[in-house]
């Protein structure tokens, strides 16, 4: 599937792209108040956990002391004390269980919420799953693109040939325009050239008549320089024209390449027709029942003992 420019930009900015249908169900919006409540709840849980841990630690610490006392001397009063302490410890344990029961429901409610979120997703049909699997295979390059108008080989080649012809025509327009501009430049230069040559002639006569006046000599040399510059400009325009003509001549390769593409298209068409004829079945087509597993396939084979065991199990179950 092609992506729109917005989707591409969103992707480049690191944002998630919403899928067509699933996006509404997957995105859960939480406002700041809810976040704060959640945070305070988690802090309470943490505190409870810390208390629980401390109590557990106390119990753990107490027991070894009593054991030590047992080891030294055991009297009937000691036994009674020990029993009462054990009862206390049992009460503590009950207390811990009660606290845990307070904590655990909240956890289970979270799980329930998760389950309800997942349940809210519509059940995907087998067709959709198959489509997703196929498109993922196509994206991975394992399967070829489906034979649609845009992906059919001959169609694509025709499109390439036509697009290329169109673009070459546009390039030709640009080059023609440049040639026309050069022609205009050339005609303008002719006018300037004629003016400069008349000026040069005038300055030449003035300079020969009045050789002592420096300004005529200076202007004459300047006019000669301008004439030289014009000459260079004309030669540059001519060179540019030649290069444009060369570029135009090179465009013949578009026609040559188009004909090569057409030759390939012809081969593909003939091959396609030949293969169709080759695989064609003249007998009335009926779907043949095809074996799902044949011995030698790369799947788990049930051979010998395994097969016998399975049969035996089934017979036992009966």
């Amino acid at each position: 599937m092609s992506m729109s420019q917005e989707e591409i930009e969103a992707l480049m900015n690191g944002l998630d792209i919403e899928d067509d249908g699933d996006s509404d169900e997957e995105t859960v919006t939480v406002n700041t108040q809810e976040i704060e409540e959640l945070l305070s709840q988690t802090e309470e849980f943490k505190k409870d956990d810390v208390n629980l841990e401390n109590e557990e630690h106390d119990l753990e610490d107490e027991e070894p002391i009593e054991l030590k006392s047992n080891a030294s001397s055991v009297s009937s009063s000691d036994i009674e004390k020990l029993l009462s302490e054990i009862e206390n410890s049992n009460e503590n344990a009950k207390h811990i269980e009660e606290i845990e029961s307070i904590v655990t429901p909240s956890k289970s409610s979270v799980v329930e919420k998760e389950i309800t979120v997942t349940e809210s997703k519509p059940a995907r049909s087998e067709d959709e799953i198959a489509k997703d699997w196929t498109s993922s295979r196509i994206n991975e390059g394992i399967f070829p693109l489906p034979a649609e108008n845009d992906t059919k080989v001959v169609n694509q080649l025709t499109q390439v040939a036509n697009d290329s012809e169109e673009k070459v025509s546009q390039i030709f327009d640009v080059l023609s325009l440049t040639l026309d501009n050069n022609n205009e430049l050339r005609s303008s230069l002719k006018d300037i050239e004629s003016f400069i040559s008349s000026e040069t002639a005038l300055l030449n006569s003035l300079n020969s008549r009045f050789p002592n006046i420096k300004i005529f000599d200076e202007r004459l040399s300047q006019a000669n320089k301008v004439a030289e510059t014009l000459k260079n400009l004309k030669s540059m325009i001519n060179t540019e024209d030649t290069e444009i003509f060369q570029a135009m001549e090179l465009m013949q390769f578009n026609d040559i390449n188009r004909q090569k593409i057409e030759r390939v298209m012809s081969v593909i068409r003939k091959l396609s027709s030949y293969l169709n004829n080759l695989f064609e079945d003249n007998t009335p087509a009926k779907d043949i029942v095809v074996a799902k597993h044949i011995h030698g396939d790369d799947t788990d084979d049930l051979i010998g003992d395994d097969l016998d065991k399975l049969i035996a199990e089934f017979s036992n179950n009966k």
Binding site: E165, V168, S169, F172, S176, F245, M248, E249, L250, M251, Q252, F253, N254, D255, I256, R258, Q259
Partner: protein, 123 residues
């Protein structure tokens, strides 16, 4: 002097037209046709001094056009230059037998066309 340029590629028609202009012909001194059928129509309606035609074209190809021009109509003796990518010896012989006066294989340059044009016009 009137020239008829026949080619199915618009780019090629423009290239040939450009070369013809480079040789000193004016823009209105040549007409264009995109296949043999349209070329035959123009030939029936007007008078041309030279025909420059491609070989591979839809509807009526260049070879068929040459055979038709040489067999009927008012351009029986008009010089024809075939400009094509078909560079095989067999193809050149076939075209010459059909009545082509000269043959240019693409890609070509302005000098080659000038030479060939001068050659057919002198005769």
């Amino acid at each position: 002097m009137k020239i008829l340029i026949v080619d199915d590629s618009s780019t090629m028609r423009r290239i040939i037209g450009n070369v013809v202009m480079q040789l000193g012909f004016a823009k209105d001194s040549f007409d264009e046709a995109e296949d043999g059928v349209k070329a035959w129509k123009l030939l029936s309606e007007g008078r041309y001094d030279v025909i420059l035609t491609d070989w591979n074209m839809p509807n009526m190809n260049g070879l068929e056009l040459v055979k038709k021009v040489r067999s009927e109509g008012t351009h029986l003796k008009t010089p024809i230059i075939m400009i094509t990518t078909e560079g095989g010896k067999g193809e050149v012989i076939t075209a010459l037998k059909a009545g082509v006066n000269n043959y240019i294989v693409k890609p070509f340059n302005a000098e080659v066309l000038k030479e060939k044009l001068d050659g057919v016009l002198k005769k």
